[in-house]
């Protein structure tokens, strides 16, 4: 076979979403790649300009369909800074609870999809089975399994239902040993190492040059985690380690994500203990009236002018399951943000695809892209 371009996508089992990886190959060797995005571009940044601050939260759930709560948290942090609102402490703990559970759920989803990419079918079912337990927990206090709409500017929508913390601890007790089981299934297999070792190598230096963050960066040996480096919410009061690996390859990313899930369990136990002993309000009292109600009505234009709105710029960055997400919210007064800009970690990770794909084989594309953990909703927004 001579050189040819093949389209991997937009409907292809490798993509885990809707995007197109154009690959130039010679036989089985990759000569060039060109990711083609935009199939899922919904213009979330534009729609946000036309919506009430609390209505944008709905869009955040749709931005990344496997880490909705993390994106809500990101947006809420930025808009609270833009609106000069301080949430109560219990709400912050609840947000951390959401984010860490979401991290485990997202990583389990990644695990399920990634092992499927290298042909291992069984863990797919295991990953989905265990992720369901977390979705059940989400359902018990947000009412939804995927599109939560739980956080609010100034706090969260509602407190936990009675008995939640015990149920959550049971889930954590179940999950801990499962991660060891996953490790035995993957790391114990020679074929797994043959497929994943020294694959898709992206050294720390190149990661930084190309803006790659998250587990990919930490697998290259850099100890970089915004929860430690630039603590937001209440992460400075929690005790955990930053997962890290040195190999910068697919196996390294696997190890980092597995360790992150274990650290998330550690964080969650502390958060659950705190929540047990510190009841309190979950929504700030001194909210402006147009923000205060959990289901704030959409403002009508003439109605707006009579009120006083503070101006400001909000920036937040959180350690999302996929990496470092940032939000930039410009508040020019009014019920709608003037401009919202999101930085998606996967966007940057995929943009560096040339660096970690060229030279490998066609059969290596699924494990490498799987280890990047592409969430297209987040890239296209």
């Amino acid at each position: 076979m001579s050189e040819m371009w093949i389209n991997m996508g937009p409907q292809h089992p490798m993509t885990h979403g809707l995007w197109n990886l154009r690959v130039r190959i010679d036989g089985e060797v990759i000569l060039d790649v060109d990711p083609e995005m935009g199939y899922l571009h919904r213009g979330i940044e534009k729609i946000s300009e036309d919506r009430h601050y609390n209505e944008v939260i709905t869009l955040m759930d749709r931005t990344c369909y496997v880490a909705g709560l993390s994106w809500e948290h990101l947006y809420i942090l930025a808009s609270e800074q833009a609106l000069h609102i301080q949430p109560p402490e219990r709400a912050q703990y609840l947000r951390v609870l959401c984010e860490e559970f979401q991290r485990i759920a997202s990583h389990l989803m990644w695990y399920a999809a990634f092992v499927q990419d290298i042909g291992l079918m069984t863990p797919f079912l295991y990953g989905m089975r265990d992720r369901d337990l977390i979705l059940d927990l989400f359902q018990s206090y947000t009412g939804a399994r995927m599109t939560y709409e739980y956080m609010r500017v100034g706090g969260v929508r509602n407190d936990l239902p009675p008995g939640f913390t015990d149920q959550a601890r049971k889930v954590l007790d179940w999950l801990g040993p499962r991660f060891d089981e996953y490790d035995r299934l993957c790391l114990g297999s020679d074929i797994f190492h043959k497929r994943c070792d020294n694959l898709g190598v992206l050294k720390a230096n190149d990661c930084v040059r190309h803006g790659v963050t998250g587990p990919m960066l930490r697998s290259a040996g850099l100890r970089r985690d915004l929860r430690k480096d630039r603590p937001y919410a209440v992460y400075d009061q929690l005790d955990f380690e930053v997962a890290r690996a040195d190999t910068a390859d697919v196996t390294g990313r696997y190890l980092v994500r597995m360790e992150e899930m274990r650290q998330s369990i550690r964080i969650l136990r502390q958060v659950l203990d705190w929540l047990d002993h510190h009841p309190g309000p979950v929504l700030a009292h001194e909210l402006p009236r147009w923000l205060g109600a959990p289901y704030a009505p959409v403002g009508r234009e003439g109605y707006l002018l009579k009120r006083h709105y503070p101006k400001g710029v909000g920036f937040s960055s959180i350690e999302e399951p996929h990496g470092e997400a940032q939000a930039y919210v410009v508040n020019e007064g009014g019920e709608h943000p003037y401009r919202v800009k999101f930085r998606s970690p996967v966007f940057a990770n995929v943009s560096a695809a040339r660096q970690y794909l060229i030279g490998y084989r066609v059969a290596d594309i699924p494990p490498i892209m799987g280890s990047v953990d592409v969430c297209v909703g987040e890239v296209d927004r």
Binding site: G38, I47, V208, G211, F315, S317, A352
Partner: protein, 157 residues
Amino acid sequence: MQPEDLERALGPALGPTLVGVEPFVGFAGRLRFRREGALDVFRAVHGLGFAHLSLVGGIDWVDHREVFYVAWSDDARQYVLLSTEVPANDAHLESATPVWPSADWHERETWELVDISFDHHPDLRHLLTPDGYAFHPLLRSFKLHEPEELEVKTRHV
């Protein structure tokens, strides 16, 4: 790192290109510069250790457009915010890709959505919108709830 430190480190080298450094919550500072010497600013900021460019974005202020950059330094464990203004009728700027390769896609996105062109960008193509899409959705003049005419050209391999 404080805004004063930034000003002290960058002021002499950049001269009039640097408009000023303001404090910004959680940041080393917000650095405003003139677009004429953009590449010098990028090099100088990169030289201070801000090696990781996270974000490039554009804001349409109707009469002018703002381009902002967020960069992270691993030594200072801090972000810095760079921003510059370009006139709406002549919206172009030097590309940051020679200094930060990660600016590539962010600039493509800003070009197609906010209509700010980047000079000497290696590959300024549509990223999120289809090829030949003539609109710039993130401009204030692009109103939602109005019908738009869409002509989609797809690339075939």
